[in-house]
């Protein structure tokens, strides 16, 4: 009964480093999403995917990249990490696009120093 699994839970990066945040779901959901949450703010959509091989930008995509080679996995890549990318990152998935709740992982807390 894993649902949406995110790794790692915590990470500290230096400015300019790169890393990949992992997200996997075992519910056979077609739709997957990456959000970031800054303190005192709501979640903002970074990228989303509607199926393997299909991705698109959300509200705040700059500095990030994604890929979707399988239905289960949706990794988020940070290239040249910047302090502004310090945030908590959440991955979510849903079965359909319309009128269906999204199911979230427990997040990755990322600090860029």
């Amino acid at each position: 009964n894993a649902g949406v699994t995110q790794t790692p839970k915590f990470r500290i990066l230096k400015i300019g480093q790169s890393m990949t945040l992992q997200c996997a779901q075992d519910m056979n959901h077609n739709y997957m999403y990456w959000y970031r949450q800054d303190p005192g703010m709501g979640l903002k959509l970074i990228y989303y995917s509607v199926g393997a091989g299909i991705t698109d930008k959300g509200e705040v995509p700059n500095g990030y990249n994604v890929s979707r080679s399988t239905t289960e996995d949706f990794p988020l890549r940070l290239e040249l990490a910047a302090p502004s990318q310090t945030s908590v990152y959440f991955c979510a998935s849903s079965r359909l696009s319309s009128n269906q709740p999204q199911h979230f992982g427990d997040g990755t807390r990322l600090s860029i120093l």
Binding site: G42, Y48, D56, L96, S97, S98, Q100, P101, F104
Partner: protein, 114 residues
């Protein structure tokens, strides 16, 4: 431009009393609304939703009311319990906007006191 607003960052309520959380939206295309609950160090958990064809949806202690003309929705928790202490997010989407993208409010921290 924030399309979903939760103007009360925090709410304190006594155990057993009613909690009322409010949410306003500006985009008239939104037609599906959700409430999520979030504990520290966990991801948001889906609580309850409502489609714009309804004005009320109830699930146990949780009821969501939708006032489309005022672009306002509210979540009622009756009775409030200590385990309800969490951050509550309102979210909205438009079925005409494909792919189910959600817009979130900033959240309301609820503290239920004994």
């Amino acid at each position: 431009d924030q399309q979903v607003k939760q103007n009360s960052p925090s709410l304190s309520v006594q155990e057993g009393r009613i909690s009322i959380l409010n949410c306003d939206y500006t985009n008239s295309m939104f037609d599906y609304f959700l409430w999520y609950k979030k504990y520290p160090a966990e991801g948001p958990t889906f609580l309850i939703s409502i489609s714009s064809i309804k004005d009320k949806n109830e699930d146990g202690r949780f009821t969501v009311f939708l006032n489309k003309s005022a672009k306002h929705l509210s979540l009622h928790i009756v009775p409030s319990q200590p385990g309800d202490s969490a951050v509550y997010f309102c979210a909205a989407s438009a079925t005409t906007d494909s792919w189910g993208k959600l817009q979130f409010g900033a959240g309301t921290q609820v503290v239920v006191t004994p």
